[in-house]
Amino acid sequence: MTQAAQMITSTDTINTGASAEAIQAHYDISNEFYALWLDPSMSYSCALWEEGDSLEDAQIRKLDLHLQQAQATNKNNLLDIGCGWGALLNQAVSQFGVKTAVGLTLSAEQVDWIKSRNAESNRDNISVHLESWEHHTPVAPYDAIVSIGAFEHFAKSRTSKTEKLKAYRKFFAWCHSNSTNDCSLSLQSIVYENYNEANPNPFVEEIFPESELPRIAEITAACEGLFEIVQLRNDRMHYAKTLQSWYTSLRKNRQMAIKLVGEKTYKFYEKYLGVFVVGFHIGTVNLVRLEARKLPSIKLDA
């Protein structure tokens, strides 16, 4: 579960992840439906909680953490891969002095949402593209990159460990090639923890079609020599709490939710949020947040 997603319908040899159709099946249900149970910023990913926080407070704290980890203050050109409904882009330009913030998503509903808010506030420092990172050509190299809840979709389900690693490495290589030397990367992803991939849970596959979660070791292996990990934290109980909050709000808005998306979809979401509360609570899955710094390219013949 995650914020906007990122992947490709690629023709190359690396089998990199969930298709745009698979992503849209999850994220393009209805903005109004998501607004019933997400916080006002529409952050659809794990918050960062402190004592006494409302969900909105905890979501802003999460955005701030990622912008700090990406060293975003006063940067020229920030990229958010899997930008969701644009909460981080807003925070970057309004609170961190970022000059231009670019978001990528495969969800058409999310693009429309961000563009309509750009028009309402007459702002030109946020742009959004309906495309994967792989097909994205930057106007200028990025000096800060954030990706929250997109990495979950970078590998296709039932691929071998080798293929998974290649797909992840391709992502880090892309970030490396399209960034300035002082670029930092802040990444957040759900990861498998106490889970047996050999015996996949069919319900999880139903929620996120075609997607396969990473393991921490796969992420760290994939960025070797491209980005150095500065810090890494596991926050699964933060996700259990976030999901619990969404679950309670969805149930409180049951009648309206059913009106918007029908009873079948409502029940599916109620079950999915509840099952994931349990999954994070008992450690079947975990939530990793990491900060990584770009490594200079090594010229072996130098």
Binding site: Q244, K271, L273, V275, V278
Partner: protein, 94 residues
Amino acid sequence: MNTTAIDSETSVITQTQIEVWIANYIAQLCKIKREKISHSTPLSNYGLDSATAVQLSGDLMDWLNCDIDPSLLFEYPTIEMAAAHILILLGNTK
């Protein structure tokens, strides 16, 4: 399932009532005789998976008209422990 909502503000719910409700629910869902279900045995012994546990906590919420964490039966894994915790929740919400 008997999920007719009760008014927890006016009705006094006892630990026994909650325990009986959970035991009946599990007996019906897992197709086990009611008298075979121990109130002090971890529910995972009856093959209760996470989806069923979430469904149970959702129906409990509807019945008791209060908020319960879907991880209830993992945090409080026996019927006795779960019912005792819910009783505390009901006390706190009044």
